[in-house]
Subunit: 168 residues, 2 copies
């Protein structure tokens, strides 16, 4: 299930990349600087769009890394344009592409640490359910909501992507 969930996150990041492309198209059609999205916020004390995208990427990247012990590439959060954000998303997808189901063997019982937890730890299973999944979707959805709030023409199927429907 771990591998399947990260595969789904990879799919969702592919959708995010399409939203960024749509956002660039909308900026072009309305003749505004596409990079103004990056500082857009839904509340003055919430992270801006650029950070929502960066954290969504890191939730997937660092989640997979911590549950498997596989080193993650470094991303110094220096993106300043929509194009650079697309490259960040695409590099995260490429990293997730390196995983197989076998990498996640033993993930549930891994001991996960975090400097913020004051010496305490979480099991991989708890971390996956209580932090990685909710945190990934939180920032992904904020990125979507911010683009919708700014007028980009997206709908639910742009969020979900193509579903694995089959004949009965």
């Amino acid at each position: 299930m771990y591998f399947e969930t990260f595969s789904q996150m990879k799919k969702q990041l592919g959708q995010l990349d399409k939203w960024l492309e749509a956002a660039a198209g909308y900026a072009k059609a309305k003749s505004f600087d596409p990079n103004v999205y990056l500082s857009s916020r839904l509340a003055p004390d919430q992270f801006p769009f650029v950070k929502q995208v960066q954290i969504a990427c890191d939730a997937a990247k660092l989640g997979a890394s911590r549950l498997t012990g596989k080193a993650a590439p470094s991303n110094p959060d220096t993106e300043q344009t929509l194009e650079e954000l697309r490259a960040r998303v695409q590099s995260t997808i490429a990293y997730l592409d390196t995983f197989t189901g076998k990498d996640f063997e033993g993930a549930a019982s891994r001991v996960i640490t975090n400097p913020r937890w004051e010496g305490k730890v979480m099991s991989g299973a708890d971390n996956f359910q209580e932090h990685i999944i909710p945190n990934f979707y939180f920032h992904l959805t904020h990125a979507y909501a911010l683009l919708r709030h700014n007028g980009v023409n997206l709908g639910k199927m742009d969020y979900l992507g193509t579903l694995s429907l089959r004949a009965p």
Copy 2:
């Protein structure tokens, strides 16, 4: 994993109930009608707050029902006040409380149907990953974002709730 994920959704709905309580408190402190939140939107062609909460509840309720074959209570979407929305959330939590891990045996291979899919079907496993989880967090996060956008004092830990930290 299915049971654990729905247990996590139950936890998230408990957090949502606390956000609604905080929203009522903020309305009282600022002397405005708490029910104005219900029609709040982030974009004119997005669902309002009331619908975001209703769909988050239904994503969990109907998801669990379809994956297990266990009948779900009917909710006609008639909520008109913040208090009624809290009751809706609490009733969804109570429904999720009736499940055990055993209920989800065979969930992965269940055949899921939907009138919108023009006769096609999804496996329970695909439906869980590609629709139930992303859809639940999409509407849950929109509810959170709408309250933040309206000034309610919430932070990331209100979203995540208490984490299962333990001594190393």
